[in-house]
């Protein structure tokens, strides 16, 4: 604070500007002394600002960090600008330095004069001038930055798993093994899901004291965020219950497409047409496949790729399942002739060829066609040589495509998760976060994510469990993003633009006050809402237009 001539008290800022030589990386190209002199020569541009400007060898080194820390303390800096490398490399390093002093880390700013100046601009003079411009922009900007304070939150380390199939059970067991409490919510009356065989996990899950199983129950509501979800459950008999958990794993599985959808396949209820998954289940339970009249079929056709064209993707696992089933039928009842009708065989992985060999060896007849249609019990096989053949079978098993489960849409809406082009839950990022979703704390396992094998489903389930275990450590607190958006209530007119564009569902309407309200714990600070607001009633902290304009103005001088 300083007294001015008029008797008014004004704030004085002390801005420290530290230029990192980065060995020859920066100092080899940029004339740092000139940059410092240029900036100092203009220091009267800033009202009530004192500049401290220095250069140093490697600021990110141990001694460098100590130097910076001492400088902040000794000079009583109110703001800090570090001209060095990319914020992606060392933003957090220098924020850490600030945190060891009284300087709020959000009153500091890194300027990237390495990747954006010294390494890419050929002419040293131009690079020097550019570096000065960038630094001036940052000095100007840092003066408009505000202190932000991280508010760590207590977390609930428990998890809810929606879906009691292979993926759901695997996730529950993985979590339980680390002594997490798990709420396993299954829509149907029994565990097991749609994988067609009794999974060995089922017994373990039932016996697990850490796993609470809710059968014939669905999730009816959810509010909250990673570490703090409140989930409403509704059971088939209409009972409501509310549970709290820190994470949600969606393992709701998938459905099969209707084989008759394409119009090329038609049959009636009395026909002996059973989709692959049903046949698998029957074989698993009864040890054989009988016709409805109790007799054994003499001929069975397994038809691959039913629904592939309609869905627009290969489900990837049905060729293998179909061949395995065909071989199993042959093994269990050698009198039955089994024919596999396929167009392209998709047998990925190390085990794929084994499956094919096994089927061949067990005497399965393999017919490749250009296309197949079915009417009643008669298949019309369009062979590769252009001829076509009609053949009748006692039983027909179409391998229908894997499609999203019926609940996918309603759950996606409830949890604000986008769906991919085929209607499955969409992951947060294909490469970097395949098990997560855009809603933090919600993960996807198994075929809810798209067609995959049981093995892959279980891998995803373990990945989800791993995410929960590492992100929600009991006793630790999580720090929500602080560079989030706030609503300036005085300017908000409640038009709802922000609400509509928010991917995270972080904004809701307060109709009584006629304004929108941000749930800061859910907001991730992308700024999409800001750009949708014509009123400027939103402010994305640390990335306000006022701050960005400082950079723009300096660049345009």
């Amino acid at each position: 604070m300083s007294e001015t001539g008029t008797g008014k008290t004004e704030m004085t800022a002390r801005v420290g500007v530290y230029l990192c030589e980065c060995g020859p990386n920066i100092a080899g190209k940029i004339d740092l002394d000139k940059v410092m002199a240029d900036i100092l020569s203009e220091s009267d541009r800033y009202r009530n600002v004192e500049l401290v400007i220095r250069r140093y060898g490697f600021l990110c080194s141990g001694p460098g960090k100590q130097y910076l820390e001492d400088e902040i303390k000794e000079n009583g800096l109110t703001h800090l600008v570090v001209a060095a490398c990319s914020p992606r490399d060392h933003d957090s390093t220098f924020m850490g330095v600030c945190a060891r002093t009284d300087l709020n880390p959000y009153l500091y700013r890194i300027v990237n004069i390495r990747e954006q100046c010294s390494w890419v601009i050929t002419d040293p003079e131009e690079a020097t001038e550019r570096a000065a411009t960038y630094i001036r922009g940052s000095i100007s900007r840092v003066l408009r930055q505000s202190s932000l304070f991280e508010k760590p939150l207590e977390i609930n380390p428990d998890a809810v798993v929606i879906g009691g199939g292979a993926a759901g059970m695997e996730a529950a067991l993985a979590l339980s093994s680390d002594l997490r409490r798990v709420f396993l919510v299954e829509k149907s009356a029994s565990l097991g899901g749609g994988c067609g065989i009794t999974m060995p996990q089922e017994k373990a899950v039932i016996e697990d004291p850490n796993v609470d199983i809710y059968l014939e129950t669905q999730m009816s509501s959810v509010i909250g965020f990673l570490g703090n979800f409140e989930i409403g459950l509704k059971s088939a008999d209409g009972k409501d219950e509310e549970i709290t958990a820190g994470a949600i794993i969606l393992a709701i599985g998938s459905d099969y497409s209707d084989p008759q959808e394409s119009g090329r396949i038609s049959f009636s209820e009395s026909d002996e047409v059973h989709i692959l998954a049903e046949a698998e289940r029957t074989l698993e339970a009864a040890g054989d496949l009988k016709l409805r009249d109790g007799t054994m079929p003499e001929t069975i056709a397994v038809v691959h790729c039913v629904g592939r064209e309609e869905q627009g993707y290969c489900s990837g696992v049905c060729c293998s399942s179909s061949l395995k089933l065909a071989a199993a039928i042959r093994r269990l009842s050698p009198e039955t002739a089994v024919t596999s009708v396929y167009r392209d065989l998709c047998l990925p992985g190390a085990d794929g060829e084994n499956v094919l060999r096994m089927a061949r060896e067990s005497g399965v007849e393999l017919i490749r066609t250009k296309g197949t249609s079915l009417s009643g019990m008669e298949l019309d096989l369009e062979k590769m040589d252009g001829t076509s053949e009609k053949r009748s079978f006692d039983m027909i098993i179409p391998a229908a495509a894997i499609v999203p489960a019926a609940d996918t849409v309603s759950l996606a809406e409830m949890l604000r998760i986008p769906l991919d082009e085929h209607g499955f839950f969409k992951e947060a990022h294909r490469m970097t976060d395949p098990a997560g979703t855009t809603t933090e704390g919600v993960f996807i396992a198994g075929t809810a994510h798209g067609p995959m094998s049981v093995m892959s489903s279980m891998r995803f389930a373990r990945a989800c469990a791993g995410q929960v275990l590492t992100r929600l450590v009991p006793g630790e607190r999580i720090v929500p993003e602080v560079k989030v958006t706030e609503i300036l209530e005085a300017y908000c007119t409640g038009c709802g633009n922000c609400l509509d564009v928010c991917v995270y569902g972080a904004i809701y309407a307060d109709t009584d006050r006629g304004i929108s309200v941000v749930n800061e714990a859910v907001c991730r600070g992308c700024g999409n809402c800001f750009a949708s607001c014509p009123s400027g009633a939103l402010r994305t902290r640390h990335f306000t237009n006022e701050q960005i304009f400082r950079e723009v103005d300096e660049a345009l001088r």
Binding site: S86, G536, E551
Partner: protein, 140 residues
């Protein structure tokens, strides 16, 4: 205009294009000194006012760049950005305000080379266009 040094602002999304700029940097690719990078978290953060103000404050060209559609760190931000951009472009086109001075590009974190190409190409375009009439008018 041999002495014309355009002032170009690039608003880059933190997750993809800024990372691509870093990659271009560490690959020591040559980039024009007239191009100023401003980092934002998402291309969807860029509002019309920011772009227009930047033009009215004297930019000769503005490049907005972010993740490819479908790859947005925040899920769907760049789809909204694309619509806003289309509107702004339409307004500039309708008023004949040299819409070619504004460009939207998708550059992923892995595309350091592409980043350099995009920036160099855009800078060349602006160099050829000459100073923006908005920057030179004394009536604004």
């Amino acid at each position: 205009m041999p002495d014309f040094h355009p002032r170009i602002i690039g608003f880059l999304c933190n997750w993809c294009t800024y990372a691509a700029a870093d990659l271009a940097g560490s690959s020591k690719l040559e980039l024009p000194p007239e191009f100023t990078v401003i980092r934002v978290m998402c291309s969807s953060r860029i509002d019309h006012n920011l772009i227009l103000s930047t033009f009215y404050r004297g930019a000769d060209g503005i490049l907005v760049a972010g993740c490819h559609p479908g790859d947005c760190h925040y899920g769907e931000g760049n789809y909204y950005a694309r619509r806003r951009f289309a509107l702004l472009k339409k307004v500039m086109e309708t008023l004949d305000l040299e819409p070619e001075r504004l460009e939207l590009r998708w550059v992923s974190a892995a595309e350091g080379n592409r980043y350099a190409e995009v920036v160099n190409e855009f800078t060349d375009r602006i160099r050829k266009l000459g100073p923006s009439p908005i920057r030179t008018s004394t009536r604004l």
